[in-house]
Amino acid sequence: MFSIAMKMLFHDRAKFVGLVLGVAFSTLLINQQLGIFIGLISRAGAVVVDVPEADIWVMDPGVKNLDTIFPLRDTELGRVRGVPGVAWAVPLFKSNVTIRTGNGELEASLLIGVDDTTLIGLPPQILMGNIDDLRRPDAVAVSEEGFRKVWRGQPISLGNVAELNDRRAVVVAIVKDSPKFTSSITFFTRYSQALQYTNNGRNQMSFIVAKAAGDQTPEAVSANITARTGLKAMSSPAFRWKAIEYVIQNTGIPISIGTVVALGILVGIAVVGLMFNLFVLENLKQFAVLKAIGTSNLRLIGMVFLQAAVVGFVGFSVGLFGATMFFETAGKSPTFQGFFLPWYVAAGSGAVAAAIIVLAALFAMRRVLFVDPAIVFRG
C-alpha cells in the first residue's frame, strides 16, 4: 500500500518538485536567517570572548554594554585586587581609533590595550609572529581581517607600519580574533602603549578583567567586588549576554530577521498546504477507488501522511543542505566570518518543517476521509 502511495506521489513530478521546494525554501530561509542573526548578535560580545582567561569583568556602575565606556581611576585596580576571592585582576583598555590605510583612506578600528606584564587580553590564537615582540616600543598586533583591510592585496606579513592617530605602529604579530559587530580591524598593544596612541593621560582603564579564585564562582566574587568597591562587576557570560541583549533591544535586527523567518514559515505553510491539498484533490478519485475496493480509512490516512512525510523529509534535507552550503561558502567571506549553522536552529527548522507537513496532511486528510467511495460508479 505504501509503495502505491509513493508511486502516486512521484507520478506528478512537477507537483512533487513544487512541494519539496516549498519545504526546502522555508527550511533554507529559517536556517540562513537565524544563522546570520545568531552570528551577528554574537559579535556584540566578541571582546569578552577574546579574553578567555578572565571570568569577571569590572566597570563603571553606569556602563551598560561594551561600547559605551567610562574610564576607571587607576586606584580601582588595587581595590579590586584586594577583594577576597579575586585570584588576579588586570586592566584592559578599549577605544576606537582612526587608522590610515595603505592607500591613504581612513578606517575606524578598535584598539585593545592589554596588561603590560601578563599580556592578558590578547586573543589566544597567534597566526604569525611572536607575542613577546609586543613588549618592544610602538609594537602592535593586528587581527587577520584587519590586516587584509588595511593593507589590501598584500600577503599577510610582519613589519608593516600603520598610523594610529598619527603615531607609528609596527605590526609584530597577526592574531585571529572573534569578528566584531562594528569594525573588523582590531589592533592589540600593551596598555601603556595604548595610552600613548590615544594620549589622554591618566584614568584610562576601560575595564578591569579578573579571575575568581578556584573555589569560588565568578558570580559570587562579582557580588563581592560590587559590595566592596561600588563598581559594577559581572561574570564573563553575563556581560557577553548583556552586550547581545543590548543589540537585540536597541537595533532593528531582530524585527527584520524575525519578519523574514515568519514569512518563510507562512509561505511554507501556505504553499505546501495548498499544493498538497491540490495533490490530494487531484488524486481523490484514486483514493475513492482504493476505498471502494476495500482500503480502510486508516490505511488511506497512513498513505497521505507518508506522502506528506516524504515531501517533508526531502524538502527539509534539500533546504538544510542549501543552508549548510551557504554557511560553508559565506563563512569564508569577511562579512560573514565566523557565521555558522547552530544545531538548535537546524533542529528548530526541522520542527517547523514537520509542523508544516502535519498541518498540510491534516488539512488534506479530511478530503480522503470524507470522499464518498460511491463516486466510483459515476462518471
Partner: protein
C-alpha cells in the same frame, strides 16, 4: 417474478428502499427492491437511465447505505455491518469493474491489477506475479508494463477485469463495463469477462444498457422507476463456445 430455480443465492435483497435528500427535496429512488442473485451465474441488471441501477449495486457493494431493507451477501447482512467490517468484506469478497475503468494513472497495468491483492495485505511483488499471470490470460502479455494512458479503452478494461478478479472474489460487480467501448471491443471484453470470471461459486452482476451484450447473461433482471419488474433466465443466452463462433 421468477426466482432462479435450485441455485444457491449469492445476493439477497429484501424490500430495499433508498431515498436521496430530505424534506421537500426527498426523492425515493428505490421503492422496495426484492431480488435474489444466484451464484454460479452471470446476472444482468437492465433498465432505463435513472431507474436506480447504480444506486442498487452501490448498496449491494456496501458503498451506499439503504434507507431501509436488508441485503444479505453470501449469507451476511451487509446493511448491519459497521464501517471497518464492510471495508474488509469488500476487500475479501467483491471485485469491481467500472464504466470509466478507474485505473490508477501512476501504476502500470500489472501494478493496477495487483492492487486488489495489495489492499488485502499482499506485498506488491507477490501481488504483481499473480496479476501478471491473469493479465496473460486476458491477452495482455505485451502491455503489462504500460501505464493506463498508453492503453486503449479495451486494454484498460482488461486490466480492470484483472484487478476485479485477481483476489478471487465470490462476487464481481460491474457497472456498464462496455459503455465506454465500441461494439467489437465491448464484445471482446465481455467474452473475456465470461471466460475468466464465471465459475460455479462466483456470482457476476453486470449493469448495462447495451442490448448487444445481452447474450452473455444467464439471468436478466429488468428494472424501472426503482422497482424490479422481471427476473428471468435468459432465453437468448449463448454458451461461451457459441459466442466465440459467432464472433469469428
Amino acid at each position: 417474478m421468477t426466482q432462479p430455480d435450485n441455485a444457491a443465492i449469492a445476493i439477497e435483497c429484501r424490500d430495499v428502499i433508498k431515498d436521496f435528500g430530505s424534506g421537500n427535496a426527498k426523492q425515493r429512488v428505490l421503492h422496495g427492491i426484492d431480488l435474489d442473485i444466484p451464484i454460479g451465474a452471470t446476472t444482468f441488471l437492465v433498465g432505463p437511465s435513472g431507474c436506480g441501477k447504480t444506486t442498487l449495486i452501490s448498496i449491494i457493494a456496501g458503498l451506499l447505505t439503504a434507507t431501509s431493507g436488508s441485503v444479505r451477501i453470501l449469507g451476511q447482512e451487509i446493511t448491519k455491518m459497521r464501517g471497518g467490517r464492510v471495508v474488509r468484506f469488500r476487500a475479501n469478497n467483491l471485485g469491481f469493474i467500472f464504466q470509466q475503468f478507474n485505473l490508477l494513472p501512476s501504476l502500470n497495468a500489472v501494478e493496477n491489477a495487483a492492487v486488489s491483492l495489495v489492499v488485502r495485505g499482499s506485498t506488491l511483488a507477490s501481488a504483481k506475479r499473480q496479476a501478471g499471470v491473469l493479465l496473460d490470460r486476458l491477452g495482455m502479455e505485451k502491455n503489462k508494463w504500460k501505464y493506463p494512458n498508453q492503453l486503449s479503452g479495451g486494454q484498460q478494461q482488461r486490466v480492470a477485469i484483472a484487478r476485479a478478479l485477481v483476489h478471487n472474489p465470490r462476487i464481481v460487480i460491474s457497472d456498464e463495463p462496455t459503455a465506454s467501448l465500441d461494439a467489437e471491443t465491448g464484445h471482446e471484453v465481455m467474452e473475456l469477462l465470461r471466460e475468466v470470471a464465471s465459475g460455479v461459486d462466483r456470482a457476476v452482476v453486470v449493469v448495462t444498457h447495451d442490448n448487444r451484450i445481452f447474450p452473455f447473461a444467464d439471468y436478466i433482471a429488468t428494472m424501472s422507476d426503482g422497482r424490479i419488474h422481471t427476473f428471468q433466465k435468459n432465453s437468448t443466452n449463448l454458451s461461451p463456445n457459441e459466442i466465440s463462433t459467432d464472433q469469428r
